[in-house]
Amino acid sequence: MNEDLSVMETITWQSFQKGDRKAFEKILNLYYPTLLNYGQRLVRDNDFAQDCLQDFFIELWNCRDKLDIPQSIKAYLISSYRRALLKEKTRNFWHQRVTDLDDHYEVEVQFNIETYLIKNEIEHETLVKLKYHLSTLSKRQREALYLRFNQELEYEEISQIMAINHHSAINLVYEALKLLRKNWVMSLLFSITTIIT
C-alpha cells in the first residue's frame, strides 16, 4: 500500500516539474498544512513561518525543473523548508551575534498529558512537577519526537532533516522516551487510565 502511494507521489512530482499546475496544487494541498504546522513549532512568530513557507513554495515552483526526484517528497520538503526558515531567522539575527544556526530555533511541543491535566484540573502540584520534567527534554529531543510521532517519518529521514547521523536520530527519540517514562508517566499512570479506556 505504501509502495503505491510513493509511486503516485513520484508521478505527481514529475508532472509538477514539467510545469503541471494541477500537480503543484496537489502537492500544496498535501503538504502545505503539514509544513505550516511544523514551521509554527520552530519559530514563535506564526506569520513569519507562514511568509517563509509561501516564499519557499514560490521558489520551489520557480526552480522546479532543476530539482531532483527525492526519495520521500515529504522528508525532502520538510528538510528544505526547515533550512530556509532557519536561514531567514538567522538573517534577522545575524548582526547581533553569530553563533551556531541551531541556537536560533525553539521547538514548541505540547504533550497530550499536559492538556489532559489542565482540562481536568488535576491538582496544582502535580502539574508543576510535570511541567518541570517536560522542560528537561531538550529541543532536539522534542523535535525528533515530533518528527517521528506526528510526521511519522523514518529515522533515516529524521537524520537528514536535523542534519545528524542515523544513530543520533534514534538516540534522540529513545533517550526522550526513557526520560519521560522514568520521570513522570509511570507516577501519573492512574490519572490517565481514564483516557486509555
Binding site: Q50, W94, F111, L180
Partner: protein, 351 residues
C-alpha cells in the same frame, strides 16, 4: 516475528505500526496486535505500559483554520500564476522603487540644507567647544582642514594647542571624523575612556556618557586605539591597531578593548575589478582570498581542508560581506565566527 519478542517498552512506543494500533488509526480488519497479544500473554503488562506511554507522549496537533490554509495555498498559486502576472507585479515594484528614490533624494537634500548653514562649514578657533543640539548631524571644519560630523547631543572640545605638536580633541557622544593627513602632528581623540590616534583617515567614534561602551569603527586608513590612563596622559595600557571595517569596543566597567568587525563592512575600492564577485567552479580558497582583499577583512580558513571545494555563484553588490560568507558556508557545509576582527571559517571539507 522474533524481533517483537525482544522489544522493550521504548521499542514499542516508537514503533509507528504499534502507535497506529494504540491510537486506533489502523483499519478494523487489521488484527495483528490482538493476535500477537494472544500468542504472548506474558507481554501483557509490558504492552499496557507501552500503550499508556504512547497516549501520554502524544504531541498535540496544532489546529490551523482551514480558511487560513486555503488562503495561503491560493496566495502561492496566484503568485506563481503566469508571466503576465509577474510583469504586473514588476511594474508596481518599479513605481514603488521610484517613489522611494525620490523620497530619499528629498531627504538627503534637506539634510545637507540643514547641516550646512549658509553653505559654509563652521570654522572653529582653537579653544572652542561645539555642541550639536539639533536633530541633524552637524559638520565642523577644524583649523587643519579635518572635518568632524557630530551626531545629535554630541560635544567636541578642541584643545588650545591644537595643531602645535599634536592635534588633540575631546569627544562626548558620537561623531564621524575625516582627518587630513599630517604625519608630523598626530590627530588624537579622547573619548569614553580610550584614546584614538591617527595620522590621516576616516572613522567613527561613539562615546555617550550614559552608555557602558565606547566604540571606534574605521572606514579608511589605520587607527591606533589605547586605553586611557590619566586624563591628559597618553600612557597606554592596552593598544590596538585597527584597519578598515574593523571596530573596537571598550567596555567601561571591565576596562577591556575588544576588536570586532563593523556591522556592515564596505568595499575598499568599490569600482575596482577586484570588487566583482562572479564565480564559476572557482576554488573556495581563491574566492575567500578575493573577498578578503576586497573588504580588507582577514578570513582564516584551513586551505588543505577546502582544497576540493568549489563555488559557482554571482554576488550582487548590495549583498553584504556577511551574506556572501553565509552563502559560501551554506555551499560547503561550514559555519563561521567573527573573532578578534577576523572571520574564521570552520569547515568539514568537501568530497
Amino acid at each position: 516475528m522474533n524481533k517483537l519478542e525482544k522489544y522493550q517498552i521504548e521499542d514499542f512506543v516508537q514503533d509507528l505500526y504499534f502507535r497506529k494500533w494504540v491510537l486506533k488509526k489502523l483499519s478494523s480488519k487489521d488484527c495483528f496486535w490482538e493476535n500477537w497479544l494472544e500468542q504472548h500473554p506474558n507481554k501483557k503488562m509490558l504492552l499496557e505500559e507501552a500503550k499508556s506511554l504512547v497516549i501520554a507522549s502524544q504531541i498535540e496537533e496544532k489546529t490551523i483554520p482551514t480558511q487560513q490554509i486555503q488562503q495561503g495555498i491560493q496566495a502561492i498559486l496566484n503568485r506563481t500564476e503566469s508571466k503576465q502576472q509577474r510583469l504586473f507585479e514588476q511594474t508596481w515594484f518599479k513605481i514603488a522603487a521610484s517613489i522611494v528614490l525620490i523620497m530619499a533624494f528629498t531627504f538627503l537634500y534637506q539634510k545637507s540644507f540643514f547641516s550646512v548653514p549658509n553653505g559654509e562649514y563652521l570654522v572653529l578657533s582653537k579653544t572652542t567647544e561645539t555642541e550639536n543640539n539639533s536633530l541633524q548631524p552637524l559638520s565642523t571644519k577644524l583649523s587643519d582642514g579635518s572635518v568632524v560630523t557630530l551626531k545629535k547631543g554630541s560635544k567636541l572640545q578642541v584643545s588650545t594647542d591644537f595643531g602645535v605638536q599634536t592635534r588633540t580633541v575631546f569627544l562626548t557622544g558620537e561623531a564621524f571624523f575625516e582627518v587630513q593627513k599630517d604625519p608630523q602632528r598626530p590627530f588624537i581623540v579622547y573619548a569614553g575612556g580610550i584614546v584614538t590616534k591617527v595620522l590621516g583617515t576616516s572613522f567613527t567614534i561613539r562615546a555617550y556618557k550614559d552608555e557602558t561602551k565606547t566604540l571606534v569603527a574605521v572606514r579608511t586608513g589605520r587607527v591606533t586605539v589605547y586605553q586611557q590612563a590619566g586624563t591628559n596622559d597618553i600612557e597606554h595600557l592596552g593598544q590596538m591597531l585597527l584597519v578598515p571595517n574593523q571596530q573596537v569596543v571598550f567596555e567601561k566597567t571591565e576596562e577591556k578593548l575588544v576588536k570586532t568587525l563593523v556591522e556592515k563592512p564596505i568595499l575598499l575600492f568599490p569600482n575596482s575589478e577586484n570588487s566583482q564577485f562572479e564565480y564559476d567552479e572557482t576554488p573556495i580558497s581563491k574566492v575567500l582570498t578575493q573577498i578578503e582583499e576586497a573588504y580588507g577583512v582577514k578570513i582564516t580558513f584551513d586551505a588543505d581542508l577546502l582544497a576540493h571545494c568549489n563555488l559557482t555563484a554571482v554576488f550582487q553588490n548590495q549583498e553584504t560581506l556577511y551574506e556572501k560568507i553565509e552563502v559560501i558556508c551554506e555551499t560547503i557545509q561550514a559555519r563561521y565566527e567573527v573573532v578578534d576582527g577576523q572571520i574564521v571559517i570552520y569547515a568539514k571539507g568537501c568530497k
